[in-house]
């Protein structure tokens, strides 16, 4: 996509390496399209700054701000020197009309966000806490997040904090559930990963609980 057109130059903004582009909890009404350099999406959890994603040129971030004036859900920090196009509600439509590819890119991103949110909704509406935790692993598996997968075993590079976040429960509660799973040999808790011994067994477990909720 050629967004290096003079017409877009007036939307260009530059960031130095390590500079914050926007910060979690800050209100936002604009989004960015990276043209050069990489951008790190991070979230501070407890006493750690966790990298959720590293984005490359051509990628969009901060797009949720176009929808509503809710606070940013994560921080965006430049990794290299970054050049990005900066858009807000006001210049958004002009941009889209001139550059259908950007609109299309945004459309795809929304598709993914809708799917992710629907999936998360399904996790959160399970009434059983163990089922919530188990369903997080199913979601990770469905979205191809397993770093190792053979037959029924899956390895995920996630922490207890991450799982708690997705399940919408606090870390201590999540740790309890995972320890219980671990004594049942359903999961193996590693230093920087969690291994599911049998993903199909978890699928059956969650599906039984979901049916129970529905009846």
């Amino acid at each position: 996509m050629n967004t290096n057109l003079p017409a877009f130059e007036r939307f260009a903004v530059y960031f130095d390496p390590g500079q914050i582009i926007f910060c979690e909890y800050e209100p936002g009404d604009s989004f960015y399209l990276i043209q050069e350099g990489r951008v790190q999406i991070t979230k501070i959890m407890g006493d750690l700054e966790k990298t959720i994603d590293v984005l490359n040129p051509g990628e969009i971030f901060g797009e949720m701000a176009i929808l509503e004036d809710s606070p940013r859900s994560a921080s965006a920090v430049s990794v290299d020197r970054v050049k990005a196009l900066h858009f807000n509600k006001a210049n958004f439509e002009i941009l889209m009309q001139g550059q259908p590819q950007i609109a299309l890119k945004l459309l795809k991103l929304f598709t993914k966000r809708i799917y992710d949110q629907r999936r998360r909704f399904m996790i959160l509406t399970l009434s059983d806490v163990s089922a919530k935790v188990a369903d997080v692993f199913l979601m990770l598996d469905e979205t191809g997040m397993a770093t190792e997968a053979d037959e029924e075993r899956r390895v995920f590079r996630v922490s207890i904090d991450d799982v708690a976040h997705w399940a919408g429960i606090n870390t201590d509660r999540c740790r309890e559930v995972l320890h219980h799973f671990s004594t049942q040999r359903r999961v193996i808790l590693g230093k920087s990963s969690i291994t599911v011994s049998n993903i199909n067994e978890l699928i059956r477990f969650v599906s039984t609980r979901r049916k129970k909720d529905g009846s």
Binding site: G18, C23, L48, K50, R81, M96, L104, R113, I114, N170
Partner: protein
């Protein structure tokens, strides 16, 4: 090439749960989409208007279809592959904009539902959240980042609950941030600070590895950067200090103690001195050497100054030791 297809009444174009990569547009006839409300489980029926697209989201994301697409009367449908749809959309911005509106409404709805469901504990008040980010960066001595967060906090909440504290932190952080940036331009030559040095890049990579929980890799990289850049380099001491933190997180208590002790002997004036002592102290605590742990932690307490986080951590550890 998109192809046209005629469907008979009663036939089903796709079922819920199917995975497909086709996008459809209704040319004429009647098609009904039937899905299940994720909240109530109730059936939702929606007629596709002539000229409307359907099956877009699932095709884009290769997700299972969320609805049944059933034909009610003889219908002509044009079928696109995702690629063909993209070609078409590039020339028909209006269509994309319309879809974007529909999708953003859907996204906003589901987003609200999810937010409402989240445990209260998960939802941090944005005012407090933003202030805490400033505090976090201050603690980690990432001054320019701390400055950004605190300035934003004060701009948005000039009379906020933490505004007094934020102003104090900001003035401290600003002087550091200035010093840091002048040092940088000083060493980097005339304004030529665009390119991060190789050490800087590796330092950042190690920070990322740490953030991602890959402590072994982070330790090796921090140690290498620290040894290569030496005490005067921008990343030297910082990296060696971080390497020690990795050892601590990895639960390698003896090594943590050795690492920080050596560091303190070599650089007794290092900025992170109280924190280094803290890590030595809690490593002794983990090793059940209570007396040693207490003597280090008490020293930390006396040196913590206005580092509230460190003071709290040290006194928590002391309390735990004393109650045993």
């Amino acid at each position: 090439m998109p192809r046209a297809m005629t469907y008979k009444p009663g036939s089903v174009i796709y079922f819920r749960g199917d995975v497909g990569d086709k996008i459809y547009v209704l040319k004429n006839g009647r098609v009904m989409l039937t899905s299940e409300d994720i909240e109530t489980g109730e059936e939702i029926q929606e007629r596709v208007g002539v000229g409307e697209f359907f099956g877009v989201k699932s095709a884009f994301g290769k997700y299972p279809r969320e609805e049944n697409a059933q034909v009610l009367s003889p219908s002509d449908v044009i079928i696109f592959s995702v690629y063909e749809f993209e070609q078409y959309a590039a020339a028909n911005t209006r269509v994309v904009l319309k879809m974007l509106k529909v999708f953003s409404t859907q996204l906003r709805r589901i987003h609200t539902k999810v937010t409402n469901l989240l445990d209260q504990a998960e939802q941090v008040d944005p005012e407090l959240g933003l202030f805490r980010i400033g505090e976090y960066y201050h603690r980690r001595r990432q001054y320019s980042q701390a400055k950004y967060a605190l300035e934003r906090y004060l701009a948005i909440y000039p009379n906020g609950r933490s505004s007094k504290q934020a102003r104090e932190l900001l003035s401290e952080v600003s002087s550091h941030a200035e010093r840091y940036s002048s040092e940088q331009t000083g060493s980097g030559g005339h304004g030529d600070t665009d390119e991060l040095s190789d050490l800087g890049k590796r330092y950042l990579k190690a920070v990322n590895q740490f953030g991602n929980g890959d402590y072994d890799a982070a330790f090796n990289l921090f140690r290498a950067v620290g040894q290569e850049s030496g005490e005067h380099g921008e990343y030297g001491l910082k990296s060696l200090y971080e390497a020690g933190r990795c050892l601590h997180v990895l639960g390698r208590h003896d090594e943590t103690i050795r690492h920080f002790t050596a560091l303190l002997q070599k650089y007794p004036k290092m900025e992170q001195l109280p924190w280094a002592l803290y890590f030595i102290g809690i490593s002794y605590k983990e090793k059940n050497e209570h007396d040693r742990a207490l003597s280090f932690l008490r020293k930390v307490q006396s040196m913590a100054g206005n580092d509230a986080d460190l003071r709290k951590k040290a006194s928590n550890a002391i309390n735990a030791l004393e109650s045993e």
